[in-house]
Amino acid sequence: MKLNNQIKFIGIIVMLLLARMVDAQILVSGQVLDAASNEPLIGASVIEVLSPPSVNPAGTITDENGNFSLLTTSSTPTITVSYTGYEDQTLAGSGNNPMKIMLAESSELLDQIVVVGYGVQKKSDLTGSVGSLKGKDLERVVTPNVEQALQGKLAGVYVTPASGQPGSGATIRIRGTGTLNNSNPLYVIDGMITQDASSVNPQDVDRIEVLKDASAAAIYGSRGANGVIIITTKNGSKNKEPKLSFSSYLGSQDVIKKIPLLDGQSFASAYNQLRNQEIYKNIDSIGVGTDWQDEIYRTSPIKNIQFGAGGSNDQVSYNFSTNYFDQQGILESSSFNRVSARLNIETKLKPWFTLGNNVSYALINEQLAPGVVGTAYRMPSVLPVYNSKGEFTDPTFFGLAVANPAADLAFKSNNHKKESRLLGNAYGEISLLKHLKFRSNFGYYVRSSTTRTIEPKFEVSASQLNKNDRLGINIDNPDKNWIWEQTLNFFKEWKRHTLGVLVGYTAEERKSDFFGASRQGFPGDADELFYLSSGNDTTQMNFGGASDEALTSLLFRTNYALDDKYLFTASMRVDKSSRFTPENRTGYFPSASVGWNVGREPFIESLKIFDRLKCRASFGILGNQALGDRYPTTAIIGTGQNSVFGSGENLNQGSTQLSISNPNLRWEISRQTDIGFEAGFLGNKLELEVDWYRRNTYDIIAAVPIPAYVGSQNSPFVNTAEVLNQGFDISLNYRKVGNISYNFGGNISPIRNEVLKLAQGKSEIFDAFINGEPATHTIVGQSIGAFFGFQTDGIFQNAEEIAAGPSIGNEKPGDLKFKDLDNNGIIDGKDRTYLGSVIPTFTYGFTLGGGYKNFDLNIDFLGTKGNKVFNEKESFRFGVYNWEQHVANAWTKDNPSTSEPRVTNGGHNYKVSDHFISDGSFLRLQTINFGYTLPKTWTNKVKIDGVRFFVSGSNLWTRQTYTGYTTEFPNSGSPFKVGFDGGVYPIAKSIQFGFDTNF
């Protein structure tokens, strides 16, 4: 934005400040707290009591810190403070000092306040579908990443960990896979918009809201179509006394399970079957051979220490935390450690003017293991790690060599990334008039990393070698982002009416750049020599690049409630994105919703069944920018298309237009409908929430295949295709407090994903090619990226059976028989069919908890049902690899198996078929947490408020039929390649011991 425009903004703010000074009433301010917990109450209403009663009394609601300030008409006012679920309190207001008002919980369950885009709302007033989670629900999961901690917790939110690499994130799908490209939700961390939540320490999280429907998410316009995850970090707890907390845990992790592979003897026997001769003569002498999984996995420690301090005085509230997290990976040579600090401060400079600042800074050291999971799976177990000379074994004896994973770990793991992350926001809030607040928020996110990769000279085999020692330095600045939001908030409650209006405008910019250099040939192998300057300067290489984008938006939302029963919300966002040409740059994203608190109608109240009951419905249009490419409408000239000429074989620079671009590209559009109800029974101890939704995504941006004769290197992006996601989000919770407390809760999310339309002239998308054959097929009427291939029909037992057909042509006894679906007597491409979907028919999670005296127990389960998984690592064969244990039962003349084909090494039995597809359903004990709190009578003597010790376990038990480590293989890049187990870093199971103290 140009400087003169910034000056204009500042000028406007100054004028607004002057404007409010003309008012001359007294200002009552204070804070509303829960009498029991001292927690601030967000959204409590504070209303001046006038005599005689006025239709328009002055009123406000408390902000997210429980603070309020109210301009009263009387100089000796009386105010009433009320909050759903709490007893009302009426008291005299004072303009001198901020008041501190303690509300006692009423017998009814307290009504929740939820954070929505650019504000907060009472849950009872909400007309949209929002899932909420408290920070303490996340802390049970041992992970440095908030995304992974969300798994299984909320209906309609499907989380799959990207991998077990320490520090890695997760792929999140809210209400299904909405598009053919980027289906990741938007993240909003204290107002800063980010692409993931990796920069937040889970223990700093106060609450998470997931905006699931159009009513809730449309305020995020062009980026709301995949849902929005709003993360609010802990703010200064409103205690007069500073509070300190200290907690720590220490744990031990192991790989979640091992894949059953053939041991040395069984491998030798299978290999003899493969070659049909006695290559291995004395099989018994071979023994178990090498367990390559044991060679790469280890038992590894995990540590976490958190210190926090928070408090407030009349003007300032603050919360400070610092955290040290250290996780050694279960795979050798992988680790993640992070030191982070956060300081959230809010200062009430004047009764009408608040300044705040949230900032977190983290330093991360990461070591990424080389890709050895797949090679450990493939290495024949007869091969030793080292040969007789003590060198790493060269596995080339078997033709095309697999890389020896132990050698890769030794030579390729000197790979260290140091990253710093600065994330925060600063804001000012001005009460302009009685009911009008202006807020300006500036958010920033800066990420910078340096990776050093040192690869020594080594030679294990002709394909596993490095002829020159090499140092590579990569400097990556993937985020240099800022956002500036100006919002004006009006809120007023009358006797029967409540009206809220939000208007705002925002501007944001995202930039990234990277730079890298390398040299080879270092004069020695001492650590201090591995800097670029000592390398051979004739081998130097460098590279670099940058990209940017910008977005400006206008936003508007209004909420209206009549008698707290009839609720209306409407919103509109207008986005302009730099990604599109000026003609297509502007998008309008409206939404409207209604709610009806039926429970407050006399005819329902008289039933005395429901403590609360609300119905709601919403409709809205959201967008998706969808692409990773920041300049999708511009045809870029591809470089590096070099040619070789001359007697000296010199490279001649070549460049040309390689791919077709589409300047007419527009936003993706998603039309979303939601109908839901919420009910509370048994004194609100039992709560049920059910939503039905329909997400219809139109104009999906997809790289649509064009005929190859066009000669484009890439398929151009066009607006095409339509995908439907339809399903239910159901959650049920019961809690009983008292001496013996217990609770249980569960959520289940059935979903149906269906492609409604594909590109013009393109009725099907084949992808995920394995051995040259597509393993997914996306067509109208089926789910995105459905598995595709031959259906097996047993095993050919003899030559006569093969001759009787149908067959492909080269089959031998013991080979898989495929179904001739078109009954034409031959097996060909037309006999391939739908083999199941990677999208679960439903996902679910449930929690059981209980407490008795000083003991507490909490158990979380999660699972999926109906999804399939493709064992890609088993289906890829280019040489002699190890086999999974089921191959020990392979067909032979003496063992006429009807399910396990003869031992082969590629070819017919490795065609893409359901032989490699397994049920991906699973049920996992995600966490189990058992705690003991020391009696207060002991701890109070040493001025400690509380000490709790706990032992917890993660992923200790899983039920699945699939042989792989886990059954979920997300792909954040392409929906056509999901569910393929190609050998990713598996997740760990772990046990932790720890304690929490407060003093």
């Binding site: 080339t396 020159n468 870029i636 000239i637 000429f645 010199n650 460049s655 005929p707 484009s712 002239g761």
Partner: protein
């Protein structure tokens, strides 16, 4: 209050007016289609990019070897029994139009054509030296013609695209008659002949760019394909008489580093293995896919010279040994002996694609890909002369390659003296096979001679007449064309 509200109306307007500048973002560090083709450097660069695609997997990788040598009687699939199953189907004529061999080569060749089209369309408007402009256009037109000649021989009628297609044309192309494709190829080659310099006129740093001689050589091939033998012989003799080319004395050296852009080279694609741990920017997969699999581990071991090929050599022809690597053989670099790989039965490898150990891994292939040799032109001269009953001339030409092959050994490959046209035709064809074996020529020759069926059946393949003479149009193209492209007969 009213004034404040006014301000909030004004602010969005301010915001909108500045936002267009704020939102105007250009790709960083890249030329775009709008800023390219402004000067001479851009023109050269765009032409270089055409050559570059000849080194891509889609152009010269395994599918290409499959659709040339492996499909012919020169070679079997090779490698382990089950690796690259789709090529086993090609080898035995068990393929259907979904086989990736066909989509891959189709892709590679049309991409090269698209790059040529961009250069041919854009270069004329650039202000630059007219001589250089004519040369660059000549290069681009030659390269386009070369690709269409291959496509028309493989697939028959194909879409003839000579401009940059716009989005409304993407799905509407139809197959063009062979006759019209031939006309376009001839026109492009005539333009190339007039715009291109002879090989000797290029500076040493540009050695390897296409030449007048290369364009004449490919035009000669076109005439042979059309049965225009007189025209073919005329242009062939123009090449012979230009004095630009001569046979290398040692046959084996043609395919070594020595032979790269040597006296016999008329058109080849330069490749170089720069220091790299992965495929360098000048490398090809051509050597890797055909390299020895096992010990020494130089590649994937595809394209196994067939028994039929071995039998076809005259007794003692040293070209057999120079074409095939056997187990136990000492490789030309003298350093290594090929060992038996238990995973492959009777392995043999294509020596013409052999390169000594190179920096980095196997994919860093440094061997230039020979696409037109002088010996090829001489044998075509012999063939053309024989077809127009000039048997003396035919013998003169055919004996040139035999002479070179026998070297100083006068007991083998004696000069041919046959005068009967039919017998001489057979002898020339046999000589052509021995001279050009495993150089991806055989399939096209058999097709041109109209004897594919006999040769394939003799080699024991499941060849179906009136079907397999042409490869199938890739199924993906048929599917995408919404009825505009029809499949070849029999598929």
């Amino acid at each position: 209050m009213k004034n404040i509200l006014k301000l909030f109306i004004v602010i969005p307007l301010v915001f909108t007016s500045c936002s267009e500048d704020f939102l105007d973002r250009k790709p960083k560090g890249n030329l775009t289609a709008d800023t390219f083709f402004q000067n001479e450097d851009h023109a050269i660069s765009a032409v270089n990019a055409i050559y570059s695609n000849f080194r891509s997997w889609e152009y010269c990788g395994l599918p290409f070897i499959g659709a040339t040598d492996i499909i012919s009687d020169d070679a079997d699939k090779g490698s382990t029994e089950t690796d690259a199953f789709y090529l086993a189907q090609v080898d035995n004529f068990l393929f259907d139009p979904t086989n990736e061999t066909f989509s891959t080569i189709w892709n590679g060749h049309y991409r090269t054509i698209a790059r040529s089209n961009i250069a041919i369309n854009k270069i004329p408007a650039i202000e630059m030296s007219e001589v250089l402009k004519a040369r660059l256009l000549g290069e681009a037109k030659f390269l386009r013609a070369f690709n269409y000649l291959r496509l028309v021989q493989w697939f028959g009628e194909v879409p003839l695209i000579t401009s940059q297609l716009t989005d409304d044309q993407f799905f509407t192309q139809k197959r063009e008659s062979k006759q019209n494709i031939y006309i376009q190829i001839e026109k492009d080659l005539q333009d190339a002949i007039s715009g291109l310099p002879e090989k000797s006129k290029y500076p040493a740093t540009d050695l390897g760019r296409v030449t007048k001689g290369a364009a004449k050589g490919i035009l000669m091939k076109l005439y042979m394909l059309q049965g225009k033998y007189t025209n073919a012989l005329t242009i062939g003799e123009e090449i012979v008489n230009s004095g630009e080319y001569s046979l290398m004395p040692n046959y084996q050296n043609i395919f070594s580093r020595l032979g790269e852009n040597g006296s016999e080279s008329m058109f080849e694609i330069g490749a170089v293995a720069l220091q790299a741990s992965i495929a360098g920017s000048g490398a090809t997969p051509y050597n890797m896919v055909q390299g020895v699999r096992g010990v020494p581990n130089l590649g994937w071991g595809f394209n196994r010279p067939s028994d039929d090929l071995i039998k076809s050599y005259e007794a003692g022809d040293p070209r057999r040994q120079a074409t095939i690597i056997y187990v136990g053989e000492v490789l030309p670099d003298g350093a290594t002996i090929v060992q038996d790989n238990p995973e492959i039965l009777n392995e043999r490898f294509n020596q013409k694609a052999w390169v000594p150990n190179h920096p980095g891994l196997q994919d860093n292939g440094p061997g230039n890909i020979r696409l037109l040799r002088y010996a090829d032109v001489l044998l075509l001269c012999a063939e053309a002369a024989n077809e127009i009953n000039n048997n003396q001339k035919a013998l003169e030409y055919v004996n040139m390659t035999r002479k070179r092959a026998r070297g100083t050994n006068t007991f083998i490959l004696k000069d041919l003296t046959i005068t009967n046209q039919t017998e001489l035709r057979a002898a020339i064809r046999k000589e052509r096979r021995s001279e050009l074996a495993m150089e991806q020529q055989r399939w096209f020759d058999l097709q041109r001679w109209g004897i594919l069926k006999d040769a394939m059946i003799a080699a024991g393949k499941n060849f179906v007449a009136n079907k397999h003479e042409l490869l199938p149009i890739p199924q993906t193209e048929i599917d995408l064309s919404a009825g505009n492209l029809q499949q070849n007969q029999g598929y």
